[in-house]
């Protein structure tokens, strides 16, 4: 009997968030294939946009997929390749990063990047007062990073909080550590740090502790919802009191919805935007997945 | 004083040329000229400045002071071999070939034949073939340089230079690595060029060759012009004497009788390699054993195989009666057997390093104390080597490349002798070495043998083989074809064995 083939394409995990996504994707594959023997999910990951475009070609020409779940490396370069998949007749589900041309995808599942920046800034404003100083450690220079950063700055604007400087720490612990070390040498008075991402935050915390500047109400806001961070929020850590959710499990959601498109009798096409929830000690437990690598 | 210069006939001339490297002067107001249709030989001790003068005359070096005249006109020669466009071609003392490229590609490098803008490979190969045929050489134009023996490479250099139809052909020791047979082939071409009006400069330490081919001879000593005279006015002895500045008596050392019953220190039985077939011979303690043969007869390969520098394909080697299958040159060295290569530039010395690291490289384990290099001992070794082999470096800190060719050769000899071997194999021991030092080296070899060391001399210089060896083995085509002992060693016999006119079952 002919199987329903669903290709799942996403970037090769090079940092923990992506690894978490990969973990959730694999779990979902196991679960869905067990549930529906006639569904075959094919997971491929690619190290760069060109390779992902190639992988999409291969999914069509070799596997002849019926549906595609894709987390594009970047929006622009993958718009056309995804369009080509669509032309082969496959159902398209886009995850996280929208394509640059509307109307290609049948289903859209995403987190909310500007909201992540905004929620972080709102929290900063709630803890800091006029004239306080913060530094910002950004991710890899990409659209996502820009969206988060711009929304953050827009929200901070007019609050009287000074953003002393912002540097790219590339969603990487080592870079977070080194950039923070240098910020600490450079600015004698820092009241809080927006690290944007939990990996960077880990490096920032290490640098703060090394310099002995982790007291006096200093705090760091990361993002994404790494399990270690959530655990320490649950334990009431002062230095990293909150986190802003950007769930890697969204890929599983997308796979569920896509399979549902073949299996459900209800309509599934549409947009599913997941919130950028502020994780606090009160709600942390519900975002804690101890088995995930992230 | 420069009465021999007559500007109206000389094609190329140096006038009161001086040259210093940094602050070291090596030529002092030297004048030199070449006329069309003559062979002008330049001789002198190692480091006298011959190569320097030749490079100046062909534009590879600039003068510090003095003038160069081409056809009587003062000229400043363009650098880097571009003087070729003016008809001046230099064969460097050291090989200058691109190893990975083929013979034909090298011969035409820089002036490829083209057709409609594309390289005409077949035509170049055809012409190269024709030139080799005219020479009487069998080298394939499509062979890669790296696969040729050093003598073949030298012939390629010569053919390359001759093919350029130069007006002035300057040759810096072209015959140093050639056997007499090849030298004859070469001289035939030289005479032909001379007849065609080419002006030729010939540098050599083989004085009999100078006597044979040159019309005029200029002698340099320590960078000073000594004399320029017609070749008839010299005898071999007077040439040597004027070069060295002293009388050279007892050129070859007195030969002590070889002890035919001395123990056998090295023996091979039915040794085979890629090009060698069933080589068997014996070397006795205190013996000087010569190996003669033509280009590619396999002498080098034989001893490289024994020292594990080349692959062996069967056969047995014994050193002092014990099986000796060395797995590395280091094992051979530690067993007291060393090989001195004739290819000093590619295999012998680190040209970019100083003299000291080169001197001790081969025997380096000897120079360690508590795991550290003993630099004082290295320095002592260098000083010893310089004294023993009369290495003349104006600047002891100079890099090896800056030494004159002959002094490099001496350094190589000193390097190998640092290992204090019991058996030493010297491939072309006096390649590029002046007569004075040659004499010293011959006496040195004789002294080694007298002390009970065994010496193998691979040489293309017949007089040398005859002058210092107790016994001579002749090789041809990868086999030993003859053996000569004592008074039976003479040029005639060697040539007959080497050329295949005579053959006996060698019994070593």
């Amino acid at each position: 009997q002919e199987k329903i083939k669903i290709g799942v394409s996403y970037p090769t995990p090079t940092h923990a968030w992506a690894a978490g996504m990969n973990w959730h994707a694999e779990k979902a594959e196991e679960r869905l294939e067990a549930l529906y023997p006639d569904v075959d999910l094919i997971l491929v990951n690619s190290p760069d946009p060109g390779a992902q475009a190639s992988a999409l070609e291969d999914l069509v020409s070799v596997h002849q997929i019926d549906a595609l779940v894709v987390l594009p490396f970047e929006s622009e370069p993958l718009t056309d390749p995804v369009l080509n998949v669509k032309k082969s007749g496959a159902l398209i589900t886009v995850v996280d990063r929208g394509l640059s041309q509307p109307g290609i995808e049948d289903i859209y599942v995403a987190g909310n990047n500007p909201e992540l920046g905004r929620v972080s800034a709102v929290y900063m404003k709630s803890r800091l007062k006029d004239g306080d100083n913060i530094v910002v450690l950004r991710g890899i220079p990409t659209l996502i990073d820009n969206e988060r950063f711009d929304a953050f700055m827009a929200e901070i604007e007019g609050s009287g909080i000074n953003v002393l400087d912002h540097k790219h720490a590339n969603w990487n612990r080592d870079d977070g550590f080194e950039v923070m070390q240098d910020f600490l040498s450079r600015f004698p008075d820092i009241d809080a740090v927006w690290a944007q991402d939990d990996d960077i935050a880990i490096g920032v915390v290490a640098a703060l502790k090394q310099a002995g500047r982790d007291g006096n109400g200093m705090f760091v806001v990361g993002g994404a919802g790494m399990k270690e961070t959530i655990k320490s929020i649950m334990d009431g850590d002062e230095l990293v009191p909150v986190d802003v959710l950007y769930p890697p499990a969204m890929i599983a959601t997308a796979m569920d919805v896509t399979v549902a498109a073949f299996k459900s009798n209800g309509p599934v096409a549409g947009r599913y935007i997941l919130g950028a929830t502020l994780i606090t000690p009160e709600n942390a437990a519900s975002f804690y997945f101890p088995d995930s690598p992230f | 004083m420069q009465e021999t210069i007559s500007n109206d006939v000389s094609v190329l001339a140096a006038e009161r040329v001086s040259k210093s490297f940094g602050n070291v002067p090596v030529l002092f107001s030297v004048s030199f000229d070449i006329c069309a249709g003559e062979v002008h030989a330049l001789i002198g001790e190692n480091g006298a400045g011959k190569s320097t003068l030749m490079k100046i005359l062909s534009g590879f070096l600039e003068t510090t002071s003095g003038a160069i005249r081409l056809d009587g006109q003062e000229i400043s020669l363009p650098p880097d071999g571009q003087a070729e466009a003016l008809g001046i071609v230099l064969i460097h003392q050291e090989l200058n070939l691109a190893e990975q490229m083929t013979v034909a590609e090298n011969i035409y490098l820089g002036r490829e034949l083209t057709q409609h803008g594309f390289i005409n490979s077949s035509e170049m190969a055809r012409r190269a073939s024709a030139m080799f045929a005219e020479f009487g050489l069998d080298i394939s134009p499509s062979a890669r340089i790296s696969d040729l023996s050093i003598a073949q490479k030298q012939m390629v250099e010569i053919v390359k230079a001759i093919s350029r139809n130069a007006r002035v052909l300057i040759m810096d020791e072209p015959t140093a690595v050639l056997t007499e047979a090849e030298t004859e082939l070469f001289f035939k071409q030289v005479r032909k060029l001379k007849a065609g009006g080419t002006a030729i400069v010939f540098v050599s330490h083989k004085l009999h060759e100078v006597k044979e081919i040159a019309d005029r001879v200029t002698i340099l000593r320590d960078g000073q012009w000594i004399t320029t005279k017609s070749v008839e006015e010299f005898t071999l002895d007077s040439m040597a004497q004027m070069m060295v500045g002293r009388e050279l008596s007892d050129f070859y050392p007195p030969m002590n009788e070889a002890d035919v019953d001395a123990e056998i220190v090295l023996e091979t039985r039915n040794l085979n390699t890629k090009n060698l077939k069933d080589i068997s011979f014996r070397l006795r303690k205190g013996e000087v054993l010569g190996f003669a043969g033509l280009i590619g007869s396999g002498r080098t390969e034989l001893f490289e195989a024994i020292c594990s520098l080349e692959e062996r394909q069967g056969g047995a080697v014994q050193v002092s009666g014990k099986q000796a299958d060395f797995r590395s040159p280091a094992e051979a060295r530690d067993a007291g057997i060393v090989y001195l290569t004739k290819d000093r530039k590619a295999k012998g010395l680190l040209m970019e390093q100083g003299m000291r690291p080169n001197m001790t490289l081969f025997a380096l384990p000897k120079f360690t104390r508590r795991f550290m290099l003993d630099r004082a001992a290295e320095q002592t070794a260098l000083e010893r080597g310089i004294r023993r082999f009369d290495i003349r470096a104006r600047n002891p800190n100079c890099r090896t490349r800056e030494l004159s060719g002959g002094n490099q050769q001496k350094l190589l000899l000193a390097k190998i002798m640092e290992a204090e071997p019991r058996i030493v194999i010297i491939d072309e021991p006096t390649r590029g070495i002046d007569v004075g030092t040659k004499q010293q080296i011959y006496h040195f070899i004789a002294a080694l043998a007298a002390e009970g060391m065994s010496v193998v001399v691979i040489s293309s210089e017949m007089p040398e083989i005859i002058g210092i060896c107790h016994r001579v083995l002749v090789m041809r085509s990868g086999r030993i074809t003859g053996e000569l002992t004592g008074d039976a060693i003479n040029e005639n016999e060697i040539v007959r064995f080497a050329a295949g006119l005579k053959e006996e079952r060698a019994h070593g």
Binding site: N22, A51, S54, V62, S75, P77, T79 | M101
Partner: protein, 339 residues
């Protein structure tokens, strides 16, 4: 006598050369067999076409790299150069729309800019290496960083996108076929043939080989070493520009992640193909097979989920090493002494 010797030498040489020549081809064939066994769709026309088209980018760049490497140099900047050229091309085309519309003129202006930039970037690499006398590795490591950060700057950290209508005009350059072969494959073939002729049949190629083989000898043969070396980098730049011209219509965008690691892929293709990294021996044919091998490895890994995704890199590494092991013969022994 000498006759026998010479013949023996020549004979031995031919066999080794053959193995050397066919080694990469054998490796590629083996890969194809493996691919077919894993999934017969591997040999489908669609997949073969995809594979060839994909190889075109790296292949064209690698043809340029063959010259640089043959002449004893190296260029680590090609990936970033491609990115910055793509970026500037897109900016230029988007800005030309007002004046020239969204038609072929705009695309041609973009392509012209691409070529100019490629030549210019190559010339800078070449001059810094020859006149500046800095080692090529350092020069191109430097320009690699510079180009990469310039494209990030131009794109403001994001992605530069080609105007939608211009893309429509430009699209066929990547997606259309002539006589059943996609256009990029034709460009690849043309560049390969031109490269082969240039390397093997012109004095320029001969000089590259001579310089890589022994710079002093080349210099003494009155070859203008610096000029030829500079030209190899300029040629490399030109190849990068051509690869970019067919790359841009594929994805219609450029960002700081465009062309990452292409330099290593290009160099790997060249060396897998049998060119000697230290210079002095280059093979365009081998380079092309090398590029095909690399793309095929990626393609095959997309074909199977037998292997954990995370181990793709392991497979790639192993295959590259084995492919070279296949053709190692005794070449390296011969080539290694720098003499």
């Amino acid at each position: 006598m000498a006759d026998i010797m010479t013949n023996q030498v020549t004979g031995a040489r031919t066999t080794t050369m053959d193995f050397k020549t066919y080694g990469p081809a054998v490796a590629l064939l083996l890969l194809c067999v493996i691919g077919f066994m894993l999934n017969p769709a591997f040999l489908s026309e669609g997949n073969i076409t995809n594979l060839l088209t994909r190889s075109a980018f790296i292949g064209i760049i690698a043809v340029g790299a063959t010259f640089v490497i043959t002449a004893g140099g190296i260029d680590l900047s090609v990936g970033s150069m491609a990115a910055v050229i793509a970026g500037v091309m897109i900016i230029v085309m988007n800005n030309s729309i007002d004046t020239f519309g969204t038609g072929a003129t705009t695309v041609l202006i973009g392509c012209g800019f691409s070529i100019l930039l490629g030549l210019g970037a190559g010339w800078i690499n070449g001059m810094l290496t020859t006149k500046g006398k800095i080692e090529a590795f350092i020069v191109t490591l430097g320009t690699m960083g510079i180009f990469r950060s310039l494209v990030t700057y131009f794109a403001d950290g994001g992605t530069l996108s080609l105007n939608h209508d211009v893309r429509g005009t430009y699209r066929p350059v990547y997606y259309d076929s002539i006589l059943g072969l996609p256009f990029p494959v034709w460009v690849f073939i043309a560049v390969s043939v031109a490269g082969w002729i240039l390397l093997n049949r012109t004095t320029f190629g001969r000089y590259c080989t001579a310089i890589g083989s022994n710079e002093a000898v080349a210099k003494y043969s009155a070859i203008k070493v610096d000029r030829i070396k500079t030209w190899t980098y300029v040629l490399q730049g030109l190849c990068v520009a051509m690869a970019t011209i067919i790359y841009v219509p594929r994805l219609g965008s450029a960002s700081s992640s465009t062309g990452v690691l292409w330099e290593l892929e290009a160099i790997a293709a060249v060396i897998i193909g049998g060119t000697v990294l230290k210079g002095g021996y280059g093979r365009i044919g081998g380079t092309i097979i090398g590029a095909l091998i690399l793309t095929t490895i990626g393609n095959i890994l997309n074909f199977t989920d037998v292997i954990s995704n995370y181990l793709n890199g392991t497979m790639q590494g192993l295959i590259i090493i084995v492919a070279v092991l296949l053709q190692r013969s005794d070449w390296s022994r011969r080539a290694s002494p720098k003499n």
